[in-house]
């Protein structure tokens, strides 16, 4: 187009114009070349850029692939780890947990995580949760079974104990029924020993299952406590009870009598089991209480046995039928339960002079009987000045003579009070209440109604026969004779009877 126009200009114009046009034409061509070059450059540039981009993309791709591969490997490792950890949970941790929970007191250690890698992850948390759930389920099932089992044992122990107690009472009744001694008495006494030991076995069973000893006693003296415990073991004749009246006649509160007797029985059984020599028992005053000491001359306990004994003595857990171990080792566990529940102490750590075991049962002052009503155990006339004691020179040997502590002294001095009141009472309401004779002059019976008019208590038998003075006895008898003859002289109700003499 341009050339056509240029030719038209050349034809119609001049040379100069033709030259100029040529120059323009040349310039145009140059420009076109340049333009082409530029375009070519652009293309090359673009190509290079594209290549570079491609390279970059390829590099990224390779990196991503690498990353993914790595991720896959890591995931596989995690998977393996988790699998192994779970296998460890099922195969090791839970069985160990079952072991530890079912066998109480066993030293099974429940392992933790297998892989430290999982520490602090959800895995640790979840596995721990599984373990906790299983433990909780076990414990609650076990507690339920234990409760049921203990209740069952207690129920049966109660029944057996009731029967055996009745047997003992029956034996005592039979011993009392026939005053003359015979082979029958000997048999009864032998049976009694067996019955008493059975009773003790039942008691230790129920105590181990968390129950109380099953018998409530009245206040008893240390003498009775030691003698009672002595009678509950087999070789009771090997127990040498050193009885001291000044402590032996002190009263222990009824609530704790049976627990103390049972605990002391266990100590005596233990002592006689491990020694064939006599076992010595005595009661002593100590600071803030009394102690019953059981000393044997056997082998003694080594360090481990002593530790085991002390562990059992401080044992707080309740046993059930599934955890009863060797019955020979249960004595300290029985004592441990009793000391916790009743507030006395037992200690086996003191060294014994004889080389054996020295077991000490401490009864604090708080468990001694506070009542002064212990007068009933002593002849009431002892403090009465009217009756001179026969063995007067022996006064210091009397239990009331030298009480070792103030409460006992109070008890002793206070004891004449109630007795004296009892003796003065009989001239009470019964005599004054109604005319004593009928219209015919016959003695009138009083209606016996303990609720309305309490029967006045008579002077006790012991008060009458305690007097050892023959002259006083004779005088009393003479008085009775006079009273009787006067009575006969006055009443003529039965002349026939007298004429027959």
């Amino acid at each position: 187009m341009i050339e056509h126009v240029v030719a038209e200009v050349l034809l119609s114009g001049g040379l100069a114009a033709a030259c100029g046009a040529l120059a323009v034409r040349t310039r145009g061509r140059n420009a076109a070349v340049r333009a082409r070059h530029a375009a070519e450059d652009e293309v090359v540039k673009a190509r290079i850029e594209a290549a570079r981009d491609l390279e970059k993309a390829q590099l990224l791709f390779a990196q991503d692939t690498e990353e993914l591969r790595r991720q896959i490997t890591v995931n596989a490792e995690w998977y393996q780890t988790a699998l192994e950890e779970t296998r460890h949970l099922v195969g090791q941790r839970l069985p160990a947990l079952l072991d530890a929970e079912t066998r109480s007191g066993s030293d099974v250690v429940v392992p933790g995580l297998l892989h430290p890698l999982l520490k602090g992850t959800s895995f640790e948390e979840l596995h721990q949760a599984v373990e906790d759930l299983v433990r909780e389920a076990l414990q609650s099932a076990r507690a339920g079974v234990g409760r049921a089992a203990r209740a069952g044992v207690r129920g049966m122990a109660d029944e057996a104990q009731a029967f055996l107690t009745r047997l003992q009472i029956k034996i005592d009744e039979e011993l009392d029924r026939h005053p003359a001694a015979s082979a029958y008495h000997q048999s009864l006494i032998d049976i009694d020993h067996v019955a008493t030991r059975s009773l003790h076995t039942v008691q230790r069973l129920r105590i181990l299952t968390g129950s109380w000893p099953g018998t409530q006693r009245a206040d008893c003296t240390f003498r009775e406590i030691v003698e009672s415990a002595r009678g509950r073991i087999g070789p009771y004749d090997r127990v040498d009870h050193t009885y001291l009246p000044e402590v032996g006649e002190l009263f222990v509160e009824g609530r704790v009598v049976e627990p103390i007797v049972v605990a002391l029985t266990e100590l005596l059984a233990n002592a006689t089991d491990y020694s064939s020599d006599p076992v010595s028992v005595y009661v002593q005053r100590v600071q803030a209480g009394y102690r019953i000491v059981v000393e044997d001359t056997g082998l003694g306990m080594n360090h481990f046995q002593r530790t085991a004994a002390e562990r059992l003595l401080s044992h707080r857990a309740v046993f059930d039928v599934t955890t009863l171990e060797d019955e020979r080792k249960l004595g300290f566990a029985v004592i441990g339960r009793l000391t916790r529940d009743y507030g006395f102490r037992v200690d086996v750590s003191a060294p014994s002079a004889g080389g054996g075991v020295k077991a000490v049962l401490v009864v604090p002052d708080g468990l001694m009987s506070r009542s002064a009503a212990q007068a009933g155990t002593r002849p009431a006339s002892r403090e009465a000045p009217a009756v001179p004691p026969a063995g007067g020179s022996d006064a210091p040997a009397l239990p009331g003579g030298a009480p070792p502590d103030p409460p006992a002294a109070e008890a002793a001095s206070g004891q004449t009070g109630p007795v004296a009141a009892e003796l003065t009472e009989p001239t009470g309401p019964a005599e004054a209440a109604a005319p004593l004779t009928t219209a015919l002059g016959l003695p009138k019976r009083q209606p016996r109604d303990p609720g309305a008019t309490p029967r006045p208590s008579l002077p006790s038998q012991e008060a009458l026969t305690d007097s050892g003075d023959p002259a006083a006895l004779a005088e009393g008898f003479e008085q009775m004779r006079r009273a009787l003859s006067e009575g006969y002289g006055d009443s003529d109700t039965d002349p026939g009877g007298r004429s027959r003499t």
Partner: protein
């Protein structure tokens, strides 16, 4: 004192007190036999229950049945302990009232007997 019904009887069993024997060494004792303590023989070496019997008897005279009551033991068992103490010279056993019986005339006693029979 503990509430009523809590037992003190039977705490100490019979065989413990007698060393397993049930038959007394003497048959002359009965429930009414009076026991008088002799303070001379030493008390050391006596079993706890025997020692207790001595304490009970030393201030005066007690009958066998009273001793049994204080010990809370059956009479037959008490007799075993008591006869042992009589054997060892700690106790003197005496039939009740023998020392003063001849001070009363026979006629009077007969009248008492008949009077009792008429009741």
């Amino acid at each position: 004192m503990s509430p009523r019904g809590h037992r003190r009887n039977g705490v100490v069993r019979s065989y413990t007190a007698t060393g397993g024997r049930a038959t007394p060494s003497r048959t002359s004792l009965d429930e009414a036999t009076l026991l008088i303590a002799d303070a001379k023989p030493p008390l050391a070496g006596l079993q706890a229950q025997a020692r207790r019997v001595m304490e009970l008897c030393l201030p005066g005279v007690l009958s066998v049945s009273e001793v049994a009551h204080h010990l809370r033991l059956p009479g037959a068992v008490t007799k075993v302990i008591v006869s042992g103490l009589v054997d060892s010279g700690h106790l003197v056993a005496r039939a009740p009232f023998t020392a003063t019986a001849d001070q009363h005339d026979e006629d009077f006693l007969r009248r008492v007997l008949h009077g009792l029979q008429q009741l």
